[in-house]
Amino acid sequence: MRSRVLPHPILSVVVAVVWVALANDLSAASLVFGIVLGIGVPLFTACYWPERPIVKRPLVMLEYAAVVAWDIVVSNIEVARLILFRRGSTLRSLFVTVPLELTTPEAVTVLTGTITMTPGTVSADLSADGRSVLVHCLDAGDPDAVVRQIKTRYERRLKEIFE
């Protein structure tokens, strides 16, 4: 699959899908053009994305997406509650370090993105060697629980997907 023609197969699919979505049209014309772009655009941008991430288990991605989506909904309700009903200064905010087992930058990035999108946490920094994430918790009674949840709910799945 990873040939000269299709340097990033997944990216090719994404580009084609994005095109069809942009066109907001499922016609043959837009599909054909989407495929053309799916081949052309990754070719042009390959040089800017030299390390090709390997997605080993695409299906886990769907599972991951579902988990994250659920967590986002929960997080929003939770955070809304905090914002509406708690005085800001009473929130037990703190930084925690989440040690990482993920190594590929793409996986780390997805994880930090997920952390920021989900319950009460923002990924504030990475460690210089890329082995830890600095996470800010809005209201954390138990910092270890936060770390645990991140590692089990997200990192484990990402490791499956990417590594």
Binding site: V15, A29, W49
Partner: protein, 968 residues
Amino acid sequence: MRLALIALLPLLGAMLPPLASRAGRDAVTAVAALVTLTALALLATSAPAVLRGEIVQDGTAWVPQLGLSFSFFLDGLGLFFAALILVIGLLVIVYARSYLGRDEPVGRFFAYLLLFQGAMLGIVISDNVLLLVVFWELTSLSSFLLIGWWHQAPEGRQGARMALVVTGGGGLLLMAGMLLLGHAAGSYELSEILLRGDVVRASPLYLPILLLVLGGAFTKSAQVPFHFWLPHAMAAPTPVSTYLHSATMVKAGVFLLARLWPVLAGTEAWFLIVTATGLVTMLVGAWIALFKTDLKAILAYSTVSHLGLMTMLLGFGTPIAAVACVFHVLNHATFKAALFMGAGIVDHETGTRDIRRLGGLAGLMPITATLTLIAAAAMAGVPLFNGFLSKEMMLEAAWHTRYADLAWPVPLLATLAALLSVAYSARYAIGVFLGRPRAALAHHPHDPPAGMWLPVAVLLVPVLLIGVAPALFAGDVVALAGQATIGTAALPGYHLALWHGVTPALIMSVAAFAGAALLYAGLGPLTRLHARLDRPDAKAAFDAVVAAVVRACRTTTRRLHTESLPRYLAIITGVVVLVGAAGFFGGTHAAGGRATLPVSLPAVVAFVLLATTSLAVPAVHGMRLLTLVLVSVVGLVVSLAFLQFSAPDLALTQITVEVVATILLLLALNLLPKRTPSETGTARTAGAAPTVRMLRDGAIAGAAGLGVAALAYAVMTRDFTPISDYHLAQSKPGGGGTNVVNVILVDFRGFDTFGEIIVLSIAALAIVALLDNALRGAAARRLDTLKRAVEAADPHPTVLVVVARALLPLALTVGIYIFFRGHNLPGGGFIAGLVVAIALMMQYMAAGFDWTAARRRFDAHALIGAGVLVAGLTGLGALAFGRPFLTSSYGYFHVPLIGEIELATAMLFDTGVFLAVVGTVVLSLARISLVERRAERGPPSRSAAVPGPDRATASRPAAAAAPVGREA
């Protein structure tokens, strides 16, 4: 063309002497003399006709729209003056050959002299009065060169400049006068004007004409109060003084008065002004001459005096006085030229012109002494020399002249002037040649070579001959020139003779001699008395005036042009506000009838956002980063406003431009000071006090804002019928697109867009050129010493790098989408170009300049060139089909699988736009960041150690970095 050639020959011949200068000074002299002789010969061929009483005319058109023609005419007066100019010119050339030093560039000297000669001839033979002005100013210019011949000396430069300013300035007056004269007379040809004296004198323009013409004539002829330049022109070499300041240039004024005598003379104004000026000049010149110690200064002031005499005679307005004037012109030219040459010989031989250091030279240089004494006698008006005769005529005319209903002033003052004239002549002759010789002269003086004294001798021939037998030797000439001067009036009865019996003139003359004897006797005490008197120094006054003018100009210019941008902009914006207000309140206005749109809450909120952030900017603009944040908010609101009011294309453009502009400003801010110092602390150098400035700026800004808001409101509340109904109607059928804005941009008004992408391209080129040398010199040193701020350790955060990489292909896809839909829906080449450029810039921002540049697949310069070329060639393509530039064409094509697609040449044009935009943005931002890098890394020697790092991998495990290494 024979007549024209008389003037043109010396003008064109002026090129010859420099060319001949290799062949030695004799050859140069010969060439110059030959040119003069040829002109003289040409003049001679026309002379018989003139002598027969005919008027020779010649010429061709030059600027018919102006009434300026290249026309010449020769009558008695012209012939008289032309002959004088050429003959004396010839003698001066011969004299100058010996006079000039061995190492002086004789060729150039004679060139200038011939230029002057030609210009002077032009004045006297011009038929067209404007052409006369041309030659008039040419004499000022060529005399400037001649007077400044010895320009190493300050006197030479100052004298030349003074002469140019006074006579050139007079020329400007004359120019105006001649224009009016031509207008009043209905013709610019003298031959016509001379016949329309009545018309001119009756014209309401007469007085302005008179004053302007007199302004020209009086400055040229050194009449009081413009007399001061002439003595300072004596800084010129003596041949120049001889030529310009005795025989020719100064006579141009007299010539002009004589020339226009039939037109302008005879009125009260003429009489009062010209007579008085002449009389005063005659007296003042003579009086000053009496006390001067420099030989040439004495001669110069005597010339002033004699010019006054001539002017006064013309001022009398009677034919007989005019004839006397002509006669005196002839006489004065001969003896004064001789005197100047004599003074030059003395100077040449003794090394001094100071009369106090000279004396008794008669024994040492007898020839020179004899010649000078003869000439001085003529100047004094001693009988048997020509000066006596014309002086008698002058006194005779003066006797009959009543001024302001008084009989005595003119005769009395004229006699007084004659008296002074005798006295200074005597002082000159006696002081130099008689008396006892003085010691301490540099070298032993003796008579010069014949080349120098022979011209003097030649000049004295008419002095003597006319002095003895005036009717025989000068009668015809005077009659001819006199008749020409007075025009159609009958030549008065006069008799050129040595003896007229005991006339009032003779008595006045005798009285003058007697008085002069007394005066001469008492000269010593008088001189001492004069020296003690505080007399006005004309040169000092002139210099003071010039200095004051220069100072005033300098002060004004310095005060106005402070090189302060805020001041300039304050004036300009102030003018804009005033002119705008004048425009509005100068016309009728009525409120419009268009219904306004209802206000919505988001609009109010957007307005509050915009107003708050905008108005905060003046308060916080000292904090520059914060200012940029506020500007971004304003940009956001503007984008939303475009969206709200049905302009999606504008909104898309604004959104994308904002991003690029912010990046650009941040790039610049990184190297600029981070804060703007408070202006209250900078009052010292900023001109006005800070509070005053703030008030002023606030007033201008407030007025501008209020005005613009009022205009906008007035417009939005009224209806109009724009041409754009056509665009809406024709967009689809004519342009093949449904997005009318885009069709306007790439088709209806594609030419605007063509210009617009070129503007962008030029901006990029100019930025490249600006920054090209930023890494050298002072800028580089400043970059090297720039203080670094506290900064993050990771230049390329992993999260950013990865997201930017993932976004790039998606953003490109969006860019392509926006490009293709632009013709029918919001979008187009420009927005697409910005989107793609932003995606690329995102790579630069995330992964670093080096890393990205190393992977760049294109050259931004080439993109710009290609963009303009594609757009231009698309436009030119239409020419092949006989259509105008940018004529578009489109069609629908059926493609299997895809179906019907539309292809339009406008899209090709839009491709050019796209390429130029991408190229411009990438090139500009990349170049700035290149400079930033220098600030970051210091001089090249240090930066050599820096590899092209992959910052994304810098923060990832080393193993994962390997593929990059392979890639590179």
